[in-house]
């Protein structure tokens, strides 16, 4: 059997700031098979975006990957030179960013930005590159792509710009796409269209997809597996249906409880008390224990990442084994 598209093992990405070491990603592991979608869920500052950037080798100083391994089709990306990494980026591994208003260079035409991506990885003529760019625009549902190639980013709406960014990511039919909250800045209707297209793409071309989001309802309809991150660590992992139906970790339970549609009409919205701790001085033991309704003395010890049910992992010593009334 061929190795999975992406295997992240004990990844650690730390930022060495003047105030101290920020453990943005601390011992994160997951696997994405080809054609599958992994939902990486967490609040702001939980380390999910940094995980994405670590995979592409785009962590900016003062941050750097300090430990663990990222195996892409069995090959450890940490052993690759910068030049070899560059040949993978945009080619075999592509990324889509959160804010479509910011990801396209405002002073360059769409065709310039697309053709350069084609030519960076394929030895083809300019005309051929142009045709590929046009086809990619058509593929993501941009009307009259030939004319739109001449446009500048500011002549597109936010949703259209995100489609252009997605088209750029698709140019080389990558094996893996890291999508960092690509629909957060968009209207709900546009979000639905883009989600449907992402799903179709994975099913058709066998692309593995990591969908980073804070929105559980997005993941529910899209992902196969889910990894919930909290304070730089994965606290719960498993198939998406199982995790959402029967969460193990109190944090996941809290997250699910905070989705408005899950709450009953007329009752105050349930929320997780407190706020995410500063990554600069995390308490020893479970990082969630200050906000956890089930916290006890033993939580001051670092909890193990254990398999509580087949395929269901959680980093908690007293997970919800019983069904939670939602």
């Amino acid at each position: 059997m061929s190795p999975p598209t992406l295997q992240v093992r004990n990844l650690k990405t730390h930022f060495f700031t003047r105030a101290g070491v920020v453990r943005a990603v601390d011992d994160v592991s997951f696997t994405v098979e080809s054609g599958k979608v992994l939902g990486l869920v967490g609040e702001s500052g939980s380390g999910k975006s940094v995980t994405g950037f670590s995979i592409l080798g785009l962590v900016d100083p003062p941050g750097r990957v300090t430990g663990g391994s990222i195996l892409f089709k069995g090959q450890d990306l940490a052993t690759l030179s910068e030049a070899a990494m560059r040949r993978l980026r945009g080619n075999r591994i592509a990324m889509i960013f959160q804010d479509p208003m910011m990801t396209l260079n405002p002073v360059l035409r769409i065709d310039t930005q697309m053709i350069e991506t084609v030519l960076a990885h394929a030895k083809v003529s300019r005309e051929e590159a142009r045709q590929r760019a046009r086809d990619a625009l058509g593929q993501v549902g941009i009307p009259s792509p030939e004319e739109r190639l001449h446009a500048y980013p500011h002549q597109f709406s936010g949703g259209m710009r995100q489609r252009v960014a997605i088209a750029i990511a698709l140019l080389h039919k990558p094996d893996l796409i890291v999508a960092d909250e690509p629909t957060t800045a968009l209207d709900v209707t546009i979000q639905g269209q883009i989600l449907a297209e992402a799903q179709k793409l994975c099913a058709e071309s066998g692309t593995a997809l990591i969908w980073i989001t804070h929105d559980l309802s997005v993941v529910a309809g899209l992902a196969d597996d889910i990894a919930v991150m909290y304070a730089g660590k994965v606290v719960e992992q498993g198939p998406v249906v199982d995790v959402l139906d029967a969460p193990l970790h109190p944090y996941t339970v809290g997250l699910i409880g905070s989705v408005p549609s899950r709450n009953h009409r007329g009752e105050p919205l349930r929320q997780i008390p407190g706020m995410t701790p500063s990554l600069l001085n995390l308490p020893a033991g479970c990082a969630f224990r200050a906000r956890c309704p089930r916290a006890e003395a033993r939580c001051a010890e670092p909890p193990p990442f254990a398999e509580y049910r087949p395929g269901r992992f959680a980093r908690c010593i007293h997970p919800y084994q019983e069904a939670v009334a939602a």
Partner: protein
């Protein structure tokens, strides 16, 4: 575009009109040229005749209208001192100043952009810190002092470069230029370097700040995520974005250099417009002063127009619409 240009032209005309009034009044307020121009020994009749010849006997508003009427026909009056058309006097000196200003601006761009780019891309390297320290010197050392030091070292002690004048000139398009002869170029070196010092520092700082800001933008990170080479990211994605502020400031600086390169021209005895205007102010040569300031106003208007058009070429979001 046409609407934009037409509207700009009208605006320019209005600005020139207002400026002419201000300049005329301002210069009138400075002092009475009669006291300086007419010898104290002249008797009353000679005095009256001279005043009448210069048109100074009329009330101020009439003087202004006469001036305006002639100016519309391209006649900005005769210099009190040289008895030559003020305009021609200035245009004669213009090439000297122009070649100095263009030279200094080119030097500033050719040296400043690469150094600024380097300092912006590697903000923590010792070389970058050296470049920054150098730019602080360029900002703070007074021009006249640097000019004198240049003369001391390169003209007096080493004897490599001539210290004064324009050297040999060639007449092209009816104007005399130094930069086309070897001797003229040698004469240009020191004044150009002296004049470009401040500008180079400015370009370094602007470029560095722009690069550091742009490198943090998402579109640069996205360009890296596309697998582009660092050279392509720097020279296409970053460079085009930082040019916008650089063009603005260099444009204004260029105008400033032409108008006010007085210090450098004095130090190197460079016969340009700056020296002419200082001499004219000393003897209250009113027509020359007025003509000079009018030309400077026109020049700034032109430079601003060119900068605006350059903007629209650099940044597609800028549209040259007639909106005011």
């Amino acid at each position: 575009m046409t609407v934009f240009l037409l509207r700009r032209l009208l605006q320019a005309a209005a600005v020139v009109l207002v400026m002419s009034l201000l300049v005329f009044l301002g210069v009138y307020a400075i002092g009475d040229p009669v006291e300086i121009l007419i010898s104290p020994e002249a008797d009353q009749i000679e005095r009256e005749r001279a005043i009448q010849a210069l048109g100074l006997d009329l009330p101020l508003w009439q003087q202004y209208l006469v001036f305006l009427g002639r100016a519309l026909q391209g006649d900005l009056g005769l210099s009190f001192v040289f008895n030559e058309p003020a305009l021609r006097l200035i245009l004669d000196r213009m090439p000297a100043t122009l070649e100095l200003a263009v030279g200094a601006t080119l030097v500033a761009l050719v040296i400043g952009l690469p150094l600024g780019l380097y300092a912006g891309l590697r903000p923590h390297s010792p070389v970058s810190k050296g470049i920054l320290a150098g730019s602080i010197l360029g900002f703070s050392l007074p021009t006249f002092w640097v000019g004198l030091m240049l003369i001391m070292v390169f003209a007096v002690q080493l004897g490599w470069l001539p210290s004064t004048g324009r050297g040999e000139t060639v007449t092209v398009l009816g104007m005399r230029w130094s930069f086309l002869t070897r001797d003229g170029l040698a004469h240009m070196v020191m004044p150009t370097v002296n004049l470009s010092l401040f500008k180079t520092s400015l370009v370094i700082r602007l470029t560095r700040a722009g690069v550091r800001e742009t490198m943090l933008m998402d579109y640069v990170k996205f360009a890296r995520a596309k697998g582009l080479s660092p050279a392509r990211i720097t020279f296409v994605h970053v460079f085009k974005n930082i040019l916008i502020p650089v063009v603005t400031v260099v444009g204004l600086e260029f105008g400033g250099t032409i108008a006010f390169s007085v210090v450098t021209e004095s130090v190197f005895a460079w016969p340009g417009m700056g020296k002419l205007i200082i001499d004219s102010i000393n003897v209250l040569d009113r027509p020359v002063m007025v003509a000079y300031l009018m030309i400077i106003v026109l020049m700034f208007i032109t430079i601003n127009l060119v900068v605006d058009i350059t903007y629209s070429l650099l940044d597609p979001r800028v549209r040259l619409e007639g909106k005011s």
